[in-house]
Amino acid sequence: MITSLLWLIPILPLLGFVINGLGRNTLSKGAVGVIGSGVVLASFILSVCFFFELSSSVEKQFTVNFFDWISVGDLKIPLSFLYDPLSAIMLLIITGIGFLIHIYSTAYMHEDAGFGKFFAYLNLFIFFMLILVLGSNYIVMFIGWEGVGLCSYLLIGFWFTNSNYASAAKKAFVMNRIGDLGFLLGVFLMFQVFGSLEFAKVFPQSANMLQGNDTITIIAILLFIGACGKSAQLPLFTWLPDAMAGPTPVSALIHAATMVTAGIYMIARSSVVFDLAPIAQNIIAIVGAATALVAALIALTQTDIKKVLAYSTVSQLGYMFLGLGVGAYTGSFFHVLTHAFFKALLFLGAGAVIHSLHHEQDMRHMGGLKAKLKTTFATMMVGTIAIAGLPPFSGFFSKDEILAHAYQFSPVLWGVGVLTAFLTAFYMFRMMFLTFYGKFRGSHHTEEHIHESPKSMTIPLVVLAILAAFGGLLNIPHVFGGNEWLAHWLTGAKVTQNHLELDHTTEFTLMAVSVLAAIVAILLAYSKYVKKADIPVADEAPRTALEKLSYKKFYLDEIYDTVIRKPLDAFSNFFYKIIDNKVIDGLVNGLGWTTNEGSKSLRLLQSGNVGYYIIMMVVGIVALLAYTYWFIA
């Protein structure tokens, strides 16, 4: 295996970033698009080659050491990559979906003035994301971790002239920072305990520690806080819906398919550590389930098509964390994979809708688009069915694997999961029905200009739709006579999961319940939004209390505002007005004043009389000599 060429995979997008970044004003849009997509395609092809090399190789883990990056005392941080089945799959997701989204963006962003800048950022993002999944220690991972955060910030605030968008970017950045602090602390503690940050050294060492060891638990919780920020879990998820301020391809790539799954990747990677911390696992499972439920409830009443998808993403991420918490690492990772397919598809489809409606995002002004946007409708329908978890689409397999593990862990968590699945099916079909069925509710002028998107946008949709439909085949459970290929594949990366000890009847029952829930939800949505043609009311219109709670996102933003921001503001104000203005400025000004006044009187000593100076000099010499005589000699 030619692991020495591994560096090419991340370097190519970086090259694309440099070229596009420098030539953003000089290169033509065609050239920018070709370079931007080309480098990602090249990375993808390389990733595929490496993937096949790896699958035919006996050895499953390759560490490629480039150079010692930091070497201080005991601290040795090499810049090195780890290529194993886990990162191989991540590489395929990132570069593959990344490539499709690049292609899509060439059409979607074509009219935008910042076309070159956009592609430069996208390439930079791909680069950092690849670093994140390739790093062989927590520090290299952290470089990627921070880098994708930066790119996310840049791309959310891509249209920064709109101050709402700019503050959405800031919000994402700050919230991520909170999580990153936890991650960093976890890494520090890990170094303190294990004396190394290499995966290859930390995991074997931690395997020797006792289950439920306090230190391990703290490390696991700190890492999970990091994952919470990056992967938008309670209580840090409010940035993700706001992140929809960015262009839609960005939402698809960063805020659905790749970056937000970094937290899951990190926990799956550290599964050895998490397995030893049952308390942390419980926390993760509960937080994941709660996030899934809360986000699904919020999604029920949203009217912005991208917001619905954003909350759906949060909810699905909650699912993945639920899976991680109950020990279904491969199940969660499987869900990462399928979610990347269908959520990228849904976002891109939503983008196509928005594009053809001239940047209309409110579903209240859509409707009846089925006939006009045939490809978009068909592909989005595939994605919706996949996320709703109807067999045999991909979402069904991944979701049910998580749910089965949840049931084995605790039936309550399973109940929450099924409820969420029910809600998911409902709000997703609500979105589909509101968008594509009924009559068009926008202005007449817009209606005349509705058109199907260009090929460069529909082809990625079709490809993703195929993946979303059949991605589930990668990991068919034993129940269906499958061989769980993905789970076997991931054992090469030491990512394993608890064995499912349910008998087949129970498993089938669980599946039937969740599928039934989804079907009921779809029928409910159909009767409400197609039969009765119920349309969400305007913002100001009165709502029932529960509806309002959901529509206002459980007032989470407002709660954060009053509980955290306002006291913090008051606190800073206190420091600014009292401590800074009065005390510190007073001190500094007082010093200046004292010096001024002191010198005003002291300068009178400078009489200009030379004789006087000389006397003073002599007095000084006498004093010095006397001092030497009496105190030193």
Partner: protein, 168 residues
Amino acid sequence: MGTSVFYFVATLSVFFALMVVFAKNPIHSVLYLILTFFTFTVHYVLLNAQFLAVVNFIVYMGAIMVLFLFVLMLLNLNKENEPNKSALLRIVGVIAGGCLVVTLIGSLKSVAITSPLVLKNPSLGLVENLGKELFGKFMLPFELSSLLLLSAMVGAVLLTKKEEKTNG
């Protein structure tokens, strides 16, 4: 004779030095200073520092003092027109000086060597020995001192030159 020559000459030096400071007429001051320097020359001879004695005689008594005298005459300052400083200032000055000598001697006492001065090498202060030192170990400072003298000369000429009117 014994050591009495030293004490005699030293007494003379102190007396003349006092006269330098307290003489009313500047011209008298200069003349007393010449006498003081002469007694110093004698001291050098007593220390067998013959080269220094000669240099002191020529440079100090000859050149420098003549320069002083010359300037005094040139500026026509040979009158006792110096307004007295206030008595207080004079007393303060003398007291300060007294304090200085007390502290000087006091502080030097702890490091002073009471043993009699013995000349181990009679040729120490002779021209030959000093010449070797000067042109050997102290070659660079010696050459540099020539630069110092040159710059002092240039400076003196430049300073005393009358300013030319620029638009004359």
